[in-house]
């Protein structure tokens, strides 16, 4: 008697499973076919950092105060500054990011004191896989200049 009920319950389980599978079969696919389709990256996406483009053009907003360097948990940021030739303060001469040790936490951006626009921001780049190690060492000052040249 027990076996009979088990067979019956087994059949019921089987047909419930099959009916759900058939229903799902006709639903639209949920996977993104990656190289042909891409997802929109959300506005707050935490990619690697870069120097924010100065809205007025010219040099970066960074004042080389090294707040980000101190805030970084993995010590992957190196900032060097030189005295400005025109007026007080410093301007950034070297901004290196070792992306290999970066944990993408965003504490550097929170520490940035520049107002109203912070001097560093997240990028939305995600295609950063590489077979060599040298992609990880990023020269952000050079990247800033490249992006600026591209814009103008």
């Amino acid at each position: 008697m027990k076996t009979f009920w088990e067979v019956l319950l087994g059949l019921k389980s089987l047909f419930t499973g099959l009916s759900i599978t058939i229903r799902e079969f006709f639903k639209p696919t949920i996977t993104t076919h990656y190289p042909r389709q891409t997802e929109t990256i959300p506005a707050r996406f935490r990619g690697h950092i870069q120097l924010t483009q100065n809205p007025d053009g010219g040099a970066s907003l960074c004042i080389a105060c090294k707040s980000c360097e101190r805030a970084c948990p993995s010590a992957c940021i190196i900032v060097e500054g030189v005295k400005k030739t025109d007026g007080p303060g410093k301007t950034v001469s070297e901004f290196r990011l070792d992306f290999g040790t970066c944990s993408l936490c965003g504490l550097c951006i929170e520490a940035c004191p520049v107002k109203p626009v912070k001097a560093i921001e997240f990028t939305k780049r995600y295609n950063l896989a590489s077979t060599t190690n040298d992609y990880a060492d990023m020269d952000l000052v050079q990247r800033y200049k490249d992006l600026q040249a591209k814009k103008s």
């Binding site: 087994g10 949920i30 504490l107």
Partner: protein, 375 residues
Amino acid sequence: MKALNLIPVGDPADETFTLNLGPQHPATHGVLRVKLVMDGEYITSAQPVIGYIHRMHEKMGENRTWAQYLPNTSRVDYLSAMTYTHAFVGVVERALKIEVPQRAEYIRVITSELNRIASHLVGWGAWVMDLGGFTPILYAFDDREKILDLLEGICGSRLTFCYYRFGGLCNDVDEAFVSGTKAFVPYMRERMKMYKRLVTDNIILRKRLEGIGPVSAEMCRRYGACGPVLRGSGVAYDVRKAEPYSVYKDFDFDIPHYPQGDSMARYLVRMDEIEQSLRIIEQAIAKLPDGPTMGKAPRIVKLPVGDFCYATECARGRLLVRVTSDGKENPYRVRLRTPCFTNLSLFEEASKGMLLADAIAFMGSLDLVIPDIDR
């Protein structure tokens, strides 16, 4: 040696052999190694060997400032990162007596509960996959994807959120998150009904789980097991009710518990917990107050000299963060009392005399995350 009498074949001393389960076995969900002494298909002793993914999270705490430890908290139990950050942020707030705005507390509860659902979905899907059912994990990851999309929209990261700060949150939620969460709750309830029909009522699953790996409340107490393992043994202990932190006492929810103590009981506890989390999210979204999301926190965090601790209920059980401060910028000691470590401890005793295939089902019921064991 009493358990050996259960084994129906000859003299175990002559017949046993050693078998390594892991460290790269897919059923251990990570780099956990279990040294099994087998007698045919039966286990005479199962000794977990841990430390393959030891990353010195506790020691790292001593070498960085309080704020710099925040990204680490998401990486201990990567599946329920929010609750871990909550515990560490909570201990600093308790020590410095930082007032957290109501809106921030409500958002913390919503995101923690969303994270708990996501964590249970992964645990559930992977567990059913260990038992031989491949399809449910695909459905589970589809639903989890919806949660991760919501969380990514507000904090920018999908797994290692690092969203809470001392005194509040790193940024406020937007309208898309609120409406997305409101839409997610009824959607998930429908899916839970489907999961019940597809998996929970399935006779194969019931046969694999019912009566497997009995864990008594007394054994849980001896090993310090917590979370769904303890609740599956009939003890209704949940940190959210026992010592309410954040704003959990404002919400109406039950603690699911089942007295059977077998793997099926732990399975049902997790499924019911998803529904309770949905209830909490629904109430919190309805009551979400306006206001700031960041309280007054000092720029350079320095804790007063002393010992502080804070417990949260993470997806796998009770997480306690205990910190010792000597008044400097770095912690003197960070201690994480993690649930997976204690839940794994009872595996050796409970799996004696079990079939190997049942031991895999039993290990899935403990829902282990290996970095959480090794820290």
